[in-house]
């Protein structure tokens, strides 16, 4: 059998991952037609390339169906309960930087901290009769962050896309989302709370702690890790 390396199947994340491995003497290439999700690894023995959606890589690592995988640590931490017992981060790859942040309307000049958010949420609930809505797709991370920050009287509403638009559309009062430059937030009249982010994320190479390995696979894995200079 071979070591399976899971890599995002499209876009800049895939290209940058290929570049990162290439710079370390491991050549990753897509094979077959443009639409076929197949790939090859050159420069080391016994390693197969598996092209996957970045969002599925945490699950595949946790299930032990791939040995190594590249994805954002935001997705790992959102999707895996007790993630550090399931995967080991081997290297931060230095791209795909993004912060998971909480943002509120710029016009909320009285809200800059979590303490303010809690105060505003209490008044909002008393005035409107329901809990302040925060739109996000990162439910676990955001809930945990707000709980530790002592924020009450809010509710998370699910938003799988165009989250920055929910405030203007009156389906949420605030949002929690990934941002890299903050440009989309500003364009939608939102500002980031003046607090440490919920999470700082970047593309990271993870090793599954759950995948079973034979002696031969273990040797191949060690050789790959050595080749990558980790």
């Amino acid at each position: 059998m071979t070591i399976k390396l899971g890599v995002p199947s499209k876009g800049r994340l895939m290209e940058k991952t290929f570049d990162w491995f290439g710079a370390r003497g491991v050549t990753l290439t897509r094979t077959g037609s443009e639409r076929e999700y197949a790939g090859a690894v050159d420069g080391v023995d016994g390693v197969d390339l598996v092209l996957l959606s970045a969002g599925e890589i945490p699950r595949e690592l946790a299930a032990g169906r791939i040995h190594l995988g590249v994805t954002g640590n935001d997705l790992i931490q959102e999707k895996l309960v007790q993630w550090d017992q399931k995967v080991e981060p081997l290297a931060r790859l230095g791209f795909g930087h993004a912060n998971l942040i909480v943002a509120v309307p710029q016009c909320w000049i009285d809200v800059d901290t979590l303490d303010d958010l809690d105060g505003a949420a209490a008044a909002f609930r008393a005035r409107h009769g329901f809990r302040m809505r925060i739109a996000t797709k990162y439910h676990r991370l955001v809930r945990d962050y707000l709980r530790r920050g002592g924020v009450a009287d809010y509710q998370l509403v699910d938003s799988q896309g165009a989250t920055e638009g929910t405030v203007k559309n009156l389906t949420a009062e605030a949002i929690a989302d990934i941002t890299s430059t903050g440009e989309t937030l500003r364009a939608n009249h939102l500002k980031i709370l003046d607090e440490p982010p919920v999470l700082e994320s970047q593309a990271t190479l993870f090793r599954s702690r759950r995948a079973e390995v034979t002696d031969q696979e273990w040797a191949d894995l060690r050789a790959l890790i050595e080749r990558l200079g980790l």
């Binding site: 309960v81 007790q82 309307p105 710029q106 016009c107 909320w108 000049i109 009285d110 800059d112 901290t113 303490d115 303010d116 809690d118 105060g119 505003a120 209490a122 008044a123 909002f124 005035r127 409107h128 809990r131 439910h139 676990r140 809930r143 945990d144 707000l146 709980r147 530790r148 920050g149 002592g150 009450a152 009287d153 809010y154 509710q155 998370l156 405030v167 203007k168 009156l170 009062e173 009249h189 003046d194």
Partner: protein, 359 residues
């Protein structure tokens, strides 16, 4: 295993029935809205939420308390006691080794006019049932903390903020520090308060929260900033109350000493004393019963009086074998204007079996 747990549950439940409680049954799938409104977003981290195409968000029963309160309050309102057993479902994100589906046996008393006697009766029943297991009991009283906050010599807004966070100890402490001027004012807040016309730079108004609401909060922040800080003496008294942890008689004496400077505590301490007396009459060894003023602050925020739990000293890895308390405020929230005194608790028969079972 499951069939043995069921038999254990049934037998405990039968004991409560024999003592006069009515059997209560309810659905496993509950309307999520009521529970979400009551407990807030945190409940989603603990309970399983699913959707029904017609009925909307549903929740797998995280406990029986809300259904039993709804059932009782829809009835004739006469005093009654209920017992039940059945599965409850809780996500265990922080403790994946713990069961996420387990049985609870409950006993709840409604309408007891004498709160001290009802508290003592419920605690006594649980204590009697669990006696063969040799568990350690823990008790507390959220009512004392509520009385403490209500009696603080500070503004109504500050009391309300502290009251909201009695169940979030870290946030509560942070608020006390801020009101006492012991925490630095964040630069953003200082700038806001320094500006005479802060709303001029607010830009585009978007969202449901109106300009008027923002103004109202700024006014409240200005008013609070103009208030003198809470005195160091009050901060010390709050810390003294929260750190009380000794046997019931000693705790009562200690709290009465504190109440010399915090007279707002007195009515709650009288209730504590009456409960101790009622417990002694009920045969509970009150002299050696532990009392912790902070006990129960991190549980679901519906207990507002007496709280208790039973723990295995031999198996500190296990969650509490039984927990309970008084939840008058919950009946007020669910009762649309009505309120009925209520106290009760639950036993986990699976843990009872883990510890060797009841004879």
């Amino acid at each position: 295993m499951k069939s043995r747990v069921r038999i254990e549950a049934e037998s405990i439940c039968d004991g409560f029935v024999a003592a006069g409680a009515a059997r209560f049954e309810t659905d496993i799938l509950l309307q999520a809205e009521v529970l979400l409104d009551l407990y807030g977003e945190d409940i989603r981290a603990r309970a399983y939420v699913t959707t029904d195409p017609e009925r909307g968000e549903m929740m797998l029963r995280p406990d029986f308390t809300v259904p039993v309160v709804q059932y009782h309050m829809a009835g004739d309102g006469l005093p009654a006691s209920y017992t039940y057993f059945g599965e409850v479902f809780r996500k265990q994100e922080d403790h994946p080794d713990r069961r996420s589906e387990y049985m609870q046996v409950g006993y709840e008393e409604f309408g007891g006019a004498n709160a001290a006697a009802a508290d003592a009766d419920v605690f006594g029943r649980f204590s009697d049932v669990l006696a063969p297991l040799g568990l350690r009991a823990a008790t507390g009283d959220i009512g004392i903390l509520i009385a403490m906050v209500r009696g603080l010599a500070t503004t109504e807004d500050r009391r309300a903020a502290l009251m909201r966070h009695i169940w979030r100890p870290a946030r509560f402490t942070a608020l006390v520090k801020r009101f006492a001027g012991l925490a630095p004012v964040p630069p953003s807040r200082a700038a806001l308060l320094a500006s005479e016309t802060p709303l001029q730079d607010a830009g585009v108004m978007i969202g449901l929260r109106s300009e008027r609401e923002i103004e109202t909060r700024i006014d409240a922040l200005r008013a609070d900033a103009a208030e003198p800080p809470m005195s160091a003496e009050i901060v010390d008294l709050i810390a003294a109350v929260l750190s009380v942890s000794e046997t019931c008689p000693n705790a009562l004496e200690h709290l009465r000493d504190i109440a010399v400077d915090m007279p707002g505590l007195l009515p709650a301490l009288d209730r504590f004393e009456a409960r101790c007396e009622a417990m002694a009459r009920r045969g509970v060894d009150v002299d050696s019963l532990p009392f912790e003023a902070s006990y129960g602050r991190t549980s679901m925020e519906y207990y507002d009086g007496f709280v208790f739990g039973f723990y295995s000293e031999a198996r500190p890895d296990l969650p509490p074998v039984a927990t309970g308390g008084r939840y008058d405020a919950l009946t007020r929230r669910l009762g649309q204007g009505r309120e009925i005194p209520a106290v009760g608790g639950v036993i986990r028969p699976d843990l009872v079996l883990d510890l060797g079972g009841l004879p």
